[in-house]
């Protein structure tokens, strides 16, 4: 891709991220007026500009995304989580004109402790039209995908990018248009993982400039504010970066950049302090449950079988991703990348095991209702880095 186009795509993705975050920032300050509408209009103008300038650039993404938005705008808001959690939070923000109304802990089932970034963005779609409705605000979750997709297009060559889009459509499927947050977590996770890998381990000069680090910072903030899982994944990414740096004896060399990026934790921490002060906690996971359920379940072998059955064995997408990973690294064994992905994969799997084993619900029920969703980050991680590994092969050959 020509440098100008790469730079254009980078700028567009940064602008989209900044507009999403400024929308959240304005709401957190209580600005629910014209400034919010201007912000969201600028977001749409940026997308129109991306589509119209150099029309042939990124044509496949433009066509795919347009089709997905059409599907999204042609379907009613149906999913359980979408209605009970995500759109309900957006609705509360719209009617209460505040991000902080969750302090009353009304409707506990809606997980009031979840960060509100995507729901604030969704509420702003309703603010733009001036009244509450569901279909258009639901599309906000689809528009949220655009920034990382544009960003990745400027860092992967054309052929590999088309394969990546096919992989994303295959792995995320209905989440692309049904307002599911887990797909967003997965795509922001792999984009952040890619950035972290580039900054700390690949060390290409072109990706070690302040703009790339700034983009990484924005992706880190967005990932942490999508959902609690997003923050957990971000922490794992930083741990992985630290461990691999330590393993390479380059921890001190990377420390300053790790510390700079750690500032991206602040918005999430502020939100959690707000929740803690108002007595809002997660209903699915508490430290008391850790003692009660985790230890009890850890000694039963059937629980492990159930866990791996739902998350890996009976999930055909995970199997395909694992096979692709094995295929990719069999042909080109990039040791650093292999350890980076394996460490992330196994540590997230271990975290999921702890969370599932601590659940206050029946383990089988909890796995059955959520395993398919939470595993998307893992499948996309394997799929993306397998492709990235082949990308390296292509370049070195």
């Amino acid at each position: 891709m020509p440098i100008e186009l790469k730079s254009f795509n980078n700028k567009i993705s940064i602008i989209l991220l900044l507009l999403i975050l400024s929308n959240y920032f304005f709401m957190s300050l209580g600005f629910f007026n014209l400034i919010l509408k201007i912000n969201i209009i600028l977001f749409f103008v940026s997308i129109v500009y991306f589509y119209s300038k150099n029309f042939k650039n990124n044509l496949s993404l433009k066509i795919y995304f347009l089709l997905i938005v059409i599907i999204c705008l042609g379907t009613a808001a149906e999913g359980w989580d979408l209605r009970s959690l995500y759109l309900f939070h957006a609705k509360r923000i719209f009617f209460d004109q505040s991000l902080y109304s969750v302090a009353d802990n009304y409707a506990v089932f809606s997980h009031n402790d979840y960060p509100l970034l995507p729901h604030a963005f969704s509420a702003s779609f309703a603010f733009l039209s001036g009244y509450w409705h569901e279909v258009f605000p639901k599309s906000a979750y689809t528009f949220f995908y655009l920034a990382p997709l544009i960003f990745l297009s400027s860092h992967i060559d054309k052929k590999k990018y088309l394969i990546l889009l096919s992989l994303i459509i295959f792995f995320l499927g209905t989440h692309l248009y049904d307002g599911g947050i887990d797909g967003l977590v997965a795509i922001y996770f792999i984009t952040t993982a890619y950035c972290i890998y580039e900054i700390f381990f690949s060390r290409k000069n072109e990706n070690n400039n302040p703009i790339f680090i700034f983009s990484t910072f924005l992706f880190c903030v967005c990932l942490s504010l999508l959902k609690n899982e997003g923050f957990a994944l971000l922490v794992l990414l930083f741990l992985t970066a630290s461990f691999v740096s330590l393993f390479e004896k380059k921890l001190l060399f990377n420390l300053s950049r790790i510390l700079i990026l750690c500032f991206s934790f602040i918005p999430f921490m502020v939100w959690k302090i707000f929740c803690y002060k108002n007595g809002i906690s997660n209903t699915d996971f508490t430290f008391s449950l850790l003692n009660e359920n985790l230890l009890e379940r850890l000694v039963v072998l059937e629980n492990f079988l159930l866990f791996f059955q739902y998350l890996i064995i009976s999930n055909e997408k995970v199997i395909i991703a694992l096979l692709f990973f094995a295929f990719s690294f069999y042909f080109n064994f990039n040791k650093k990348l292999f350890y980076f992905v394996i460490f992330l994969f196994s540590s997230y799997l271990a975290l999921l095991l702890i969370i599932y084993f601590s659940t206050p619900y029946d383990l089988n029920y909890h796995l059955e209702t959520s395993a398919n969703r939470v595993v998307e980050s893992l499948t996309l991680l394997l799929g993306f880095f397998s492709l990235y590994n082949l990308n390296i092969l292509n370049k070195t050959s």
Partner: protein, 126 residues
């Protein structure tokens, strides 16, 4: 022809992506042209996705100008109904202390009947 030969991988994956989206559109979505023609409609096409008795609660609460409502124990125990009624009716809030209670018609609740719908009744308890 030369272009096709040179870019067969690109064309293959482009078509694969399109086919996947078409599959999701036709098999895995409840796509309706009517919704696409006006995605800004105030009623949000709820009749396509929610049972009539849940939509009825909203009509009852709005027409009777209720700000806070309670639900009978039976309705509260139906998880799907409970969550849908709460999210659908917001900013009208569920409050267990409210004297206005929604009951299903097959229930016997000895409070004053305010409004009787097709599936749900609004009662006022002392």
């Amino acid at each position: 022809m030369t272009y096709l030969k040179k870019n067969k991988l690109i064309i293959f994956f482009f078509i694969l992506g399109i086919l996947q989206i078409l599959y999701y559109w036709s098999e895995r979505s409840n796509f309706k042209l009517q919704i696409l023609s006006n995605p800004f409609k105030k009623n949000s096409y709820l009749s396509y996705i929610l049972p009539e008795r849940i939509i009825e609660t909203r009509k009852i609460l709005i027409s009777n100008d209720i700000n806070k409502f309670n639900l009978s124990t039976k309705l509260r125990n139906e998880m799907y109904f409970f969550q849908r009624v709460i999210e659908l009716n917001y900013p009208i809030k569920f409050d267990p202390k409210s004297k206005y209670i929604l009951v299903s018609l097959e229930e016997n609740q000895n409070c004053e009947s305010i409004f009787k719908g097709q599936y749900i009744e609004l009662q006022k308890c002392p």
